[in-house]
Amino acid sequence: MRELVGHSLTMTDRDIRRLVRQPWWIVVSLIQPVVWLLLFGPLFKNIANIPGFKAPSYIQFLTPGVIVMTAFFSGGWNGMATIDDVNRGVVDRLLVSPLHRSAFFVGHVLQTSVTITIQAAIIILLAYAMGAHYANGALGVLVLFVTAVLLGGALNAFSNGLALIFRREETLIATLNVFMLPLTFLSTAFMQKNMIPHWIQVAARYNPLNWAVVASREAITPGTDWNSVGTHLGLLALLLIVSMAFAMSTVRIYQRSI
């Protein structure tokens, strides 16, 4: 166990160093969530005036959606770096070392968690400046972070597992595009549940991204239904575990195919 922790932190450290040396990547990943907020906020602003829309302002409604979406994409694209590692022989070098197999993935998940936490913090502050209110104070905000990290972490492990199976950037990009964007819109991230078509409501129920949106939004809205928050956080934790198990199983697939 101590070894697993040590190895995971070693990998996280390496992943973070690698990110820090790509300043352009940092700029993009920090600016992107801000763009979502500044773009969608004004674009859909008048939705708040529709009778029956419960949130006091659209920015209030949108903030959890943007955080979740950002975490979703941050985690999801992480497999691209792993494909680079495969092609350069870095993965092979790690696999013939005594590195804990899970540490490889845990390291990536932890690195994504750091990135997502910073991104979420920026969004939370900016949204606050734009008029969003966070009910339940620090606890509500904490739920925002935890939800984002659980979802982003799950996507990260899934994406890294796919990377070991595909080992080709084009295939990974295509696959991720096919499901990531639709899942973003098959949810209540941008629109209140009773204002979207019934079939999307049904689809949203099974959509992990929507679980995260529901948990986050509930946690910062007055009159929080903590049962719902707990259930959805539980589902996300489960998803992270399943994703991790999937990722671990791809190591064998990779080893069989090379």
């Binding site: 070894e3 696999l95 069989r256």
Partner: protein
Amino acid sequence: MSRERLNGNAIEIESLVKVYKGAVRALDGIDLVIPAGSVFGLLGPNGAGKTTAVKIATTLALPTSGSVRVAGFDVVHQAAQVRNAIGVVGQNSGVDVNLNGRENLRLQGLIRSIHGRELKQRVNELLEQFGLADAAKRITRNYSGGMQRRLDIATALVHRPQVLFLDEPTTGLDPEVRTEMWQEIERLTHEEGLTILLTTHYLEEADQLAAKLAILDNGKVVATGSPEELKAELEGDTIHVELRADAEDGAIRAALEPIKGIRQLDHDVKCLRARVEHGATAVPIVLQALEAKGLAVDSVSVSRPSLDDVYMRYTGREFARADEEGARKQNPAQEEKR
């Protein structure tokens, strides 16, 4: 932490078979015993199965059947022990180009649970030894090919392995850097008593470095022995002839086949190579036979047997030609695999 010297056999390979999806038989029943403490060369053209053998012996790929023991441990059932005992330099570098030289070495040390002062000392030692001390803080993306290769080997040595695998360590390097690399590899065996398994498709490299070697062809071991032993098995000399113009189909064979004493003949339209018992006596006879058929000769030379001749004897093909064929076959396969 010091290296325990291995006694006996460093690597034992038994009836090793690897079949890839699509029924490509990369290894077709290999048996090899590699003694500790020397450089063992796996020589073969592109696509012979060298890299596959290394991947299995280093616990990276799984065998279809058969067994491999490295440093006394089974690569499938005792992978963890094997991983502690080996250092691996793959064909792809394995250096993390986003980290600097020191960070790359530290990473390998930390994975192997070497920490603190011990790690620092070992890293400095290796940087010094491989002439990378001045470049330690430079991002390795900006290293030259030779520097990256040196760092590659250094990172494989952080934990003082007993067996070092070098998969085509000089492919893609300038001739000058290649010679440097050879000296480094020789030093490692002499001074550090490492067992090195080296794969190569350069005959010269195997000849120079390997105390013993195995020649691989189409997933099979076709010959083993020291380079000298293998060459000594081929009694006689080799005659190389270059023609002035391309010969017609069958003309060369028609000219030379009647000559007694030609043991083996290999040719294309312009060049031919024949193995004979005694070069000096055979040359005039061969030249005469060629001229008689109207094949003008541009140059002729006689040489003692080389590894190339050894290879030809066991496979019936010239090494360079097999290598090219292998590369051609391999590339579409690789594309498919993806």
